[in-house]
Structure formats: structure tokens, C-alpha cells
């Protein structure tokens, strides 16, 4: 290509690719407006309803922040839902025996332990993370069922429940605070730290990253650790919100989390993604769920409509990637 041709080819695509980058925000506003217009009379715009959307999606949003890092390295973590369930059980059991601090440590420890195993299997042994975490999904769920004897383990500690998802700070649900805090930290880490840069470089072109001195195996280990710890935090939030640890918590969340990240513009092939986009993706999914309920659709119809909307949104946001 001559330089002149290269120059003209280079000018053209920027405005188009720009609006695609903001598709998640555009989609969010459009769908919000449609629901506000059609469902306003059914209480969609009621502040309580809007806060409810946040309560229902904050946990997905927290995990989707970590998933942005995992997908950013072109890896995947399918075990997050099961790890959330296991961590809720571990937290409840720990609290029973060791008190509140012990419970929190048990919950986070679960995340660290699972993350270390996932990371080691993926980077040390070389099993693709898809398989590692698929297997881990079953193992974590199974362990949760086993140690809890499939029973719910109640959490009676009021302060724990208030901090981890159950309470409000004034009018603000604590879940919203968790979401904002995790989102803010995640955003800064991905955007402004050397770690974040290396995550995206690893996913963008692993060979080139390795040639550039990035220890790509260590980066992958760390992001898998990160997502397991975030999943464990999600489990602790479930436990606080519903005053118990149950192995069922988080079932199917892995798919919601991945859908949220991809809706938010994170590439499944690595190298691109934003934390804010993923959170918006989670909120959009919550928004759609809420609207469909208010429309009075049956659960079966909700599933179909939600699937269709997600396909359309992802199709639009992904067309730029060839």
C-alpha cells in the first residue's frame, strides 16, 4: 500500500467505530426510554423499582468487572457461579464456628483457593481455561452441596447481613455501594496500572506480549485468581442479602456475567474491554428483566425475549470485529 492510500484508508473508519464503542450506552438509554414510555404507568420509574434493578444486578456486575480482566486476556472463567455458591456456604459455616471475621476469611479463602487451582491448571499444566473452569464449576458446586448436606445454612449475624448486601446506607442499598466500589477499583486497575495494560496486551496478541517481556502466564494466573475472588465476594453478598449460605446461589450466573461483559464491549477473543461497559451490560440485562416482568410476560416468554434482545445487542456491538 502506498502511503497516500494508507492515509485515506485510515481517515474513514473512525466516526463509525466510535459510535459502536458507545453502543452499550446508546442501547441502555434507548431501552430505558422505551420502558419509561410504555411501562411508566406500571411503576417502572418508581425509585424503589429502579433501586430494585440495582439490587438484582449488582452481584452480576461485581463479577463482570473481574470477568472483563479474564476475557481481556482471552481466557474465560465458567466456574464463577459455582464458586459464589460454595463461598456462600463456606462463609455461613465459617461464621457459625469462628464468628464474623472467620466467616469472611472462609469466604475469601474459598476464592483464593479455587483461583489458585484454576490458575495453576491453566498456566502450569496448560489445560485451556474453558475446560479447567468447566470442571471446576462441577467440583465447586459439588463441594458446596456436600459440606452443607444440601441444606441452607442460616446467617444470624445482623451487621454482616447489613454490610454484605442486605442493608442500606440511608437510601442507598449497600449492594450499590459494593458495585460502585468494585467498579471504580476495577476501572482504575484496568486503565491506569501496568497490570491492566499487560492484561489487554496478553489478550490482544499473546506472542507479541511475550516478545515484549510480559510474563503472560503470570498475568493469566492473576486474572483467574481475581475472578475467583470476585466470585467469592459475590457469594458473600448473596449470603448477606438472603441471610444464609446455599449451594444453589449463583447458579447460571457465569452466563449472565459473560453476557454482561460482552454486551459492554469486551471481546471474547481478548485484548479489548472496559469495566464501565461491563457494569452497564449487567445493568442493561437487569433492566430488560425488570421491564419484561412489568410487562406481565410469563417466565417462559421472558427467557425468550431476553435471549433475543441480548443476541441483537451483541450482534450490533460485535459487527466491527470482522
Amino acid at each position: 500500500m502506498t502511503d497516500a492510500a494508507a492515509l485515506s484508508a485510515r481517515k474513514a473508519p473512525s466516526p463509525l467505530s466510535n459510535w459502536r464503542e458507545f453502543i452499550i450506552y446508546i442501547g441502555f438509554v434507548v431501552i430505558f426510554a422505551i420502558f419509561a414510555a410504555t411501562l411508566g404507568s406500571r411503576g417502572f420509574l418508581d425509585p424503589n423499582n429502579l433501586l430494585n434493578i440495582v439490587r438484582q444486578t449488582a452481584i452480576i456486575a461485581v463479577v463482570s468487572v473481574a470477568m472483563t480482566f479474564v476475557l481481556g486476556t482471552a481466557e474465560i472463567d465458567l466456574s464463577v457461579g459455582a464458586v459464589a455458591g460454595l463461598a456462600s456456604v463456606a462463609t455461613a459455616m465459617g461464621m457459625d464456628h469462628l464468628g464474623i471475621a472467620g466467616g469472611i476469611l472462609c469466604g475469601l479463602g474459598t476464592g483464593v483457593a479455587v483461583g489458585a487451582v484454576n490458575g495453576w491448571l491453566t498456566t502450569g499444566i496448560g489445560i485451556p481455561s474453558f475446560l479447567t473452569t468447566l470442571a471446576m464449576m462441577g467440583i465447586a458446586r459439588g463441594v458446596a452441596m456436600w459440606i452443607s448436606a444440601t441444606a441452607a445454612i442460616p446467617i444470624l449475624d445482623k451487621p454482616y447481613a447489613a454490610v454484605f448486601g442486605g442493608g442500606n446506607l440511608g437510601p442507598v442499598p449497600s449492594l450499590l455501594l459494593w458495585m460502585v466500589a468494585v467498579g471504580a477499583v476495577g476501572h482504575v486497575v484496568l486503565r491506569r496500572t501496568t497490570f491492566g495494560r499487560r492484561v489487554l496486551a496478553t489478550g490482544g496478541n499473546e506472542t507479541s506480549a511475550r516478545y515484549s517481556g510480559v510474563d503472560t502466564a503470570a498475568i493469566k494466573f492473576k486474572v483467574l485468581m481475581l475472578s475467583s475472588v470476585a466470585a467469592a465476594l459475590a457469594g458473600m453478598l448473596y449470603a448477606g442479602r438472603l441471610h444464609s449460605g446455599r449451594f444453589q446461589f449463583g447458579e447460571g450466573d457465569e452466563l449472565s456475567v459473560i453476557a454482561a461483559a460482552v454486551l459492554g464491549g469486551t471481546s471474547l477473543f481478548g485484548g479489548a474491554g472496559t469495566v464501565v461497559g461491563s457494569i452497564m451490560g449487567a445493568l442493561l440485562i437487569g433492566l430488560i428483566n425488570n421491564g419484561l416482568v412489568l410487562m406481565g410476560l410469563e417466565f417462559s416468554q421472558q427467557l425468550i425475549a431476553r435471549g433475543a434482545i441480548i443476541i441483537v445487542a451483541v450482534a450490533i456491538s460485535q459487527t466491527r470485529k470482522r
Binding site: 495494560r197 507479541s208 506480549a209 517481556g213 510480559v214
Partner: protein, 520 residues
């Protein structure tokens, strides 16, 4: 060869191929007779691969006609060329590594019994073919598990496992041992005696002189000469391939840099396979070139020095201090940087910005406590764009929107920003336009003048001659010659316009001699 009543196996008449404004082929005619080995020669970019692509139907010519065995080729698809009798053994391996040798040989035209694939017949047939070639390759083994040389032979057996009129061999010996080359040549002679026309592409002149009956030389998309091998000498053949023209490097100012202390020293450096027992000394202000044919171990040497591949043996010293280089990070820390051979795969993240790419190997320098300072990243990128005159919309533009030459400058820039003492460039001007080539060679000279030691690995000899003070010739993993640049000048006439041609011819000769081939 005698002229016969048979039609030519290949007759290309006045074939041209344009890509946009570029003439890859310009009115080339080629005839290959049944039962001859016809060498197709030329530098990279001379038009050889375009001819091969037309011949095997992958690209239609812009104008001109192609006939195979007297029948004009009207549709240009791989299937049509195949049906006309053209078979090709690929230089870039086309085998599926997870299938067995026999399954690969009969891929997509499996021997069947009824509706089912008859693996046993395929194995027996493959065994027969390998026996005809005289090599012991087990057809039941997976391709991934056999050595590279055997893979290359399997590729050739696959191409000849069905009747063909024309067999195209593109650099068929790069992975072969001397003994395997003999087996291959015997096999080619068998095919020739059966009336197969063999089109043989290779940079290894000694092999051409041994196996080919006639040769056609291309240069810049044009036909230069077709003649029986007996009419060529090594000199005249190289002269025909190189031609008598400047390729834009003549404007490179070769200011002499002050050669200083030793920056990089390698002793007995060996990789798993290649290189073998290599000694290298690089001094401050010096540009050293590494020349060598495909498979000589050039790129392995580069990967070893920058820590991408582990060294099996040997010692590396930087500024006299022994260093252990187990990873690219170690190399960066020791002050060694590599501009790798495969830009798109190894050099940059295509859809990330110029800024991100320049920052990547320099993150430690532009951050504090793990936090990246966006102003320092921006300053680094702006400085790089300015210093190397990178043509880009902005530092935020994705590297994939840049031309090849500018993308290469981004790769060089990101490594220069690490402030290395030793810069290694592997094929630094591959696939970029001539203007950028000369700019990059000028840059290499400037870097040496600024006190760096530069190692340039290249298959383009003019580039080495324009850039280097000293040229090492590698063959079969070893450094076999160490030639000072001025020894390649024509002593009687150092300033003539033909000086570069003269030097290139001498270097080319040195490389061919290094392969131990007969210099006729």
C-alpha cells in the same frame, strides 16, 4: 532435453498480473517441457510466487494465457489446475499435524472401500511411495511426531501421490539433511524419466546446478533469461538474478561510526537444534549483518539472544558482564532488544494504539508503584512518532491502520524506547515499500553512530550491504564466514555505480560456497 512432438507441459504466454498499480508480473512467457526439471529463479518479489499462484490456479492472470499439456486453462481455481495435472508441494507446510502421514497423503481424496475410508490401503500405498523415494517414513505416525525433514518429504509424496503432468517444488530442501536431499533428487529424476515436468524453485544454487535442466530467471516481474543450465555459471546466474540497478539503498549515507568497546559477546551459543556453537562479538557503533539461506538458523539465533527461546549451551556477556537470559524480560533488562521477524504476530498488538504498543515493553519506565502515568506514556509515544517520522493520524490510532513501513517503525520505536545497548533486527524491511526500507537502513546507521551495537538479520543482501560494517554468513546453524564490508568492494573501482552489485555478487557467492556446493 530434446524437443518433442508432445505439447509443452506448461506454456505461459505473455502473462501479466497487476495488484492495483503494482505489476507483479509483466508480460512473462514460460515454457516447461515434459520430462525436464525447470528452475525458476529470482529474488524475493521478482514474481516467482505470483507465477506459482497462477500455475496452481489460486490467482487468475490479468492478461495472457496459460496452457497445461496443450490444453488452455480457462478457469483459475485450485481444482481446475489440479484437474489439468498441476501438483504442488508447499513450502509452508500444508499438512494437518494431528493426522497420520498416510491420512495426510490422501487427505480429501481418501481411498475408500464402499462408503468407508480404507486406512489400510492408504498406509500400504504411502509405504510404496516412500519406498520409491528411498526414505523410511512410517505412514502410521502422526505428522506432529515426525521430524521437519520428514514432513517436507511427506509434503512432496502427497503432491506426487496422484498422477500429475506438472510438479511444483517450492524450496523443497530447507528442512532436509544432505542425505535426504540425495533421496529427493533421485525421486525427482524418477519423476522426470516418467515425463513429469518439474518446476523447481530454490535459492540454493548448488542444488539448481545439480538437478535442473533449464532455468528461467525473473526480475521485478519481468522475464530475464531462459537457458539450459550448461549455459550458466554461478557468476552469470547471480548476475542475471540481481541485475544492474540500484534498489534505493544508494542514498544511504554510510558515515563511519567510531567502533568502541564490546557490548555483546556470545561464546559457544547453541539452541536445541539451531544455531550451533556460535561466537559473536558486537562492538559499540558497529552494525553486523547475518546472512544465510532459509533454514540456516538466523532467526533462531535472534530468538536465543532475546530470550524467546532458551539456549541449550553457551555464554552471553553484555558489556563484559555474564548475563543469564531466560526470558524476554531478562533480555530487556540486560539491554538487548529484538525487532522480530514476523511483525504482525510477534511485533505488535494490531488493534491497540500506537501509544499502547510503544508503551508495552516500557511499562516499568512510565509507571510508579504500578500506576501508569498517562502523560509519560503520551510523551514516549509522541517522541517516538517524531523521532522515526511515523505517519499516523495520532498516537491513539490502531497500528493496523498504518502502512507496513510505519507499523515496522512502531515496532522499532517501542524497542528503542527501552534504550537498549544492543538492538537486533530480524528482517527489518520485509514487506515494506522501498522508501521506508531506505529510511530504516538509514536509521540503523544512525543508531550505530549514536553508540549502539546493531545486529541485522536479513535475506535481502542489498540491505545488509547498505547497513552493515561486517557480515556473518550462517549455514546449517553455524557461522561459517565473517566478512568485513569493505572486503566486498571492488578494489579497483570502489565508487562506481555498480559497487553495490559487485558487493552483492561477492556476498552471494560467499553464501553459496558456504553451503559447500560446487561453484561452477
Amino acid at each position: 532435453m530434446t524437443a518433442t512432438a508432445f505439447p509443452d507441459a506448461v506454456r505461459m504466454t505473455d502473462v501479466s498480473k497487476h495488484f492495483g498499480g503494482v505489476r507483479a508480473l509483466d508480460g512473462v512467457s514460460l515454457d516447461v517441457r515434459p520430462g525436464e526439471v525447470h528452475a525458476l529463479l529470482g529474488e524475493n518479489g521478482a514474481g516467482k510466487s505470483t507465477i506459482l499462484k497462477i500455475l496452481r490456479g489460486v490467482q487468475p492472470p490479468t492478461s495472457g494465457t496459460v496452457a497445461i499439456g496443450g490444453t488452455p486453462l480457462t478457469t483459475f481455481t485450485a481444482e481446475a489446475a489440479r484437474a489439468a495435472g498441476v501438483s504442488m508441494a508447499f513450502q509452508e507446510m500444508s499438512l494437518v499435524p494431528t493426522l497420520t502421514v498416510a491420512q495426510n497423503v490422501f487427505l480429501d481424496r481418501e481411498i475408500k472401500r464402499g462408503a468407508l475410508i480404507d486406512d489400510r490401503a492408504a498406509i500400504a500405498e504411502s509405504r510404496r511411495l516412500f519406498a520409491a523415494m528411498g526414505v523410511a517414513i512410517d505412514p502410521t505416525r502422526r505428522v506432529a511426531d515426525i521430524p521437519a525433514g520428514h514432513r517436507q518429504l511427506t509434503e512432496i509424496v502427497k503432491a506426487t501421490s496422484q498422477p500429475c503432468k506438472v510438479l511444483v517444488l517450492d524450496e523443497p530442501t530447507t528442512a532436509l539433511s544432505a542425505n535426504e536431499v540425495e533421496r529427493l533428487f533421485d525421486y525427482v529424476r524418477q519423476l522426470r524419466s516418467r515425463g513429469v515436468a518439474v518446476v523447481y524453485v530454490s535459492h540454493r544454487m548448488d542444488e539448481i546446478f545439480r538437478i535442473a535442466d533449464r532455468a528461467t530467471v525473473l526480475r521485478d516481474g519481468k522475464h530475464v533469461v531462459t537457458a539450459p543450465l550448461a549455459d550458466f555459471t554461478l557468476d552469470s546466474m547471480i548476475a542475471a538474478i540481481i541485475g544492474r540497478r540500484s534498489r534505493g539503498f544508494s542514498d544511504v549515507a554510510r558515515g563511519t561510526a567510531a567502533i568502541g568497546d564490546v557490548l555483546l559477546e556470545a561464546r559457544g551459543l547453541s539452541g536445541q537444534v539451531k544455531p550451533r556453537d556460535v561466537d559473536i562479538t558486537l562492538r559499540r557503533g558497529e552494525v553486523v549483518g547475518v546472512a544465510g539461506l532459509l533454514g540456516s538458523g538466523r532467526s533462531s539465533l535472534a530468538r536465543l539472544l532475546c530470550g524467546v527461546q532458551p539456549a541449550a549451551a553457551g555464554e552471553i556477556r553484555v558489556k563484559g558482564e555474564p548475563v543469564s537470559i531466560a526470558s524476554p524480560r531478562d533480555a530487556i533488562r540486560a539491554g538487548i532488544a529484538l525487532v522480530p521477524e514476523d511483525r504482525a504476530r510477534q511485533g505488535f498488538v494490531a488493534f491497540h494504539s500506537v501509544e499502547s504498543n510503544v508503551a508495552l515493553p516500557n511499562l516499568a519506565a512510565v509507571s510508579k508503584g504500578g500506576f501508569v502515568d498517562p502523560r509519560r506514556v503520551a510523551a514516549l509515544a509522541e517522541a517516538a512518532i517524531k523521532r522515526l517520522r511515523i505517519k499516523t493520524d495520532s498516537r491513539g490510532a490502531a497500528v493496523r491502520t498504518l502502512s507496513g513501513g510505519n507499523a515496522q517503525k512502531v515496532v522499532i520505536a517501542k524497542w528503542l524506547a527501552t534504550e537498549p545497548d544492543v538492538l537486533i533486527l530480524d528482517e527489518p524491511t520485509a514487506g515494506i515499500d522501498i522508501g521506508s526500507k531506505s529510511e530504516i537502513v538509514t536509521l540503523i546507521r544512525d543508531l550505530a553512530r549514536d553508540g549502539k551495537a546493531v545486529l541485522v538479520l536479513s535475506s535481502e543482501l542489498q540491505e545488509l550491504l547498505a547497513a552493515c560494517d561486517r557480515i556473518l554468513v550462517m549455514s546449517d546453524g553455524r557461522v561459517v564466514r565473517d566478512i568485513a564490508r569493505h572486503d566486498l568492494d571492488d578494489p579497483g573501482n570502489p565508487e562506481s555505480v555498480d559497487a553495490l552489485q559487485h558487493a552483492e555478487q561477492k556476498l552471494n557467492q560467499a553464501m553459496q560456497e558456504a553451503r559447500g556446493g560446487p561453484a561452477r
